[in-house]
Amino acid sequence: MDWLGPEEWQAVRLSLRVAFWATALSLPFGLLTAYALARWRFPGRQLVNGLVHLPLILPPVVTGYLLLLAFGARGPIGELLGPLGISFAFRWTGAALAAAVMAFPLMVRAIRLSIEAVDPKLEEAAATLGASRLWVFLTVTLPLTLPGILAGAVLAFAKAMGEFGATITFVANIPGQTQTVPSAIYAFLQVPGGESSAARLVIVSIIIAMAALLLSEWLARRVAQRVGARS
């Protein structure tokens, strides 16, 4: 398609990469958090629950600013990870981190609900067959939760594709590195005559997100069929 310039294509590719990794890497944490919130009763549970929801509650700019303070090159966590070769500051990894944090509450919510729907009796049955808690989780809870995980992941992906406020505040808007589609749209909207360029990018993001959504609904239905609704 020649109606997107090379820089715009770059933004699309980057957004996809950012959203993919944001989703993929936050999934294990999302699962763990959702499982803990759904199944464990520990002191501070409500605190964790609240923390997870924070990025939903706060204006994205604030989240981005807090990320900048914590994970920036001069931030405490940034300085800790720096020597390990892990750097988020002003790199696409940082955009992924910002997107992951912003999408985290959505992911956890969706997964948590589907974990709560898994019958603990099946988990008990697995235990009597010799499966340790971890195995039970991996072989019973996890597969039965798959539709919810899928839903959570695609929600997170969609959110990650659209995230802007936290990303630009945390890692700026560096073409080819941190300029995602939403930041590109933002940049276009900042200049006169940029609306049509912005509109083209908007359409691209809609197409991608819709495709992800449809794919996930289809996958969820297939999984649900295989797993057998209400069996």
């Binding site: 900048l68 630009i168 505040t169 700026a172 808007n173 073409p175 909207l189 006169p192 940029g194």
Partner: protein, 232 residues
């Protein structure tokens, strides 16, 4: 060299053009990073990989200088701007912007679009000008403040508000608005876009770009986009 320039978002059109010319002439490559000045300043404070900052706000440049985050000697004003009062195209006749301005009459119950009047430079200048002519108190509760001056422009361009106060450069580029008054620049602090090399990141390329920005070619481009050379 590879030069990363952090620049106020409202300068995108002009700077993109200048950077292209610069690249053609020097063989350096530039990466232009646009965002609100506040965001950029904070990021530089956190070690952003910027060689150069072009700010829309004198205040933020002062702040960075105070933190020793820029090279003070390199600080220059690259261009300036004026404030204008705008209206949707063909809806208002030109007026004089002074203490006799009948804002009430012009607003006919509508709102005055501006950038955030206490936070964003364009809003701060505009509020200063209105105050200067004792017009502020009269309209203060009828100001629709946008998060940036572009959004304020959009309100007028989309005919959502009958009036707006924006930079001349913005009005210049937006065919859907008419300038109904130029705001006398003495009514507010001078509008300047300071640029400086970022401390510890200043390569020769960055220095060259900074020089280029203050050069005649750049001034021409700025002027084409409605910016006005300081003092001019």
């Amino acid at each position: 060299d590879q030069i990363t320039v952090f620049a106020a978002a409202s300068m995108k059109n002009a700077l993109d053009e200048i950077a292209r010319t610069f690249e053609d002439e020097t063989g350096h490559t530039t990466t232009l990073v646009y965002a609100g000045t506040a965001v950029l300043a904070r990021q530089i404070e956190q070690g952003a990989p910027a060689n150069l900052l072009v700010s829309a706000s004198v205040e933020w440049m002062d702040y960075l200088e105070g933190q020793n985050l820029i090279v003070p000697e390199s600080r220059v004003v690259v261009t300036g701007n004026r404030m204008v009062l705008i209206a949707p195209k063909d809806q208002a006749k030109p007026v004089e912007f002074n203490e006799n301005l009948d804002l009430d009459g012009l607003l006919v119950g509508g709102l005055l679009a501006m950038a955030l009047v206490d936070a964003v430079p364009a809003g701060i200048y505009g509020k200063a000008a209105l105050s200067h002519y004792d017009l502020w108190d009269e309209v203060s509760d009828r100001v629709a403040q946008a998060d940036n001056v572009r959004a304020a422009l959009a309100f007028v361009a989309l005919d959502q508000t009958p009036l707006g106060i924006v930079y001349a450069s913005d009005a210049h580029a937006e065919p859907r608005v008419d300038v109904v008054a130029r705001i006398p620049s003495h009514s507010h602090a001078p509008i300047r876009y300071p640029a400086a090399l970022v401390a510890g990141q200043s390569g020769s390329g960055a220095k060259a770009f900074l020089d280029f920005l203050t050069g005649a070619k750049a001034s021409g481009v700025f002027e084409q986009h409605g910016f006005s050379v300081p003092g001019g």
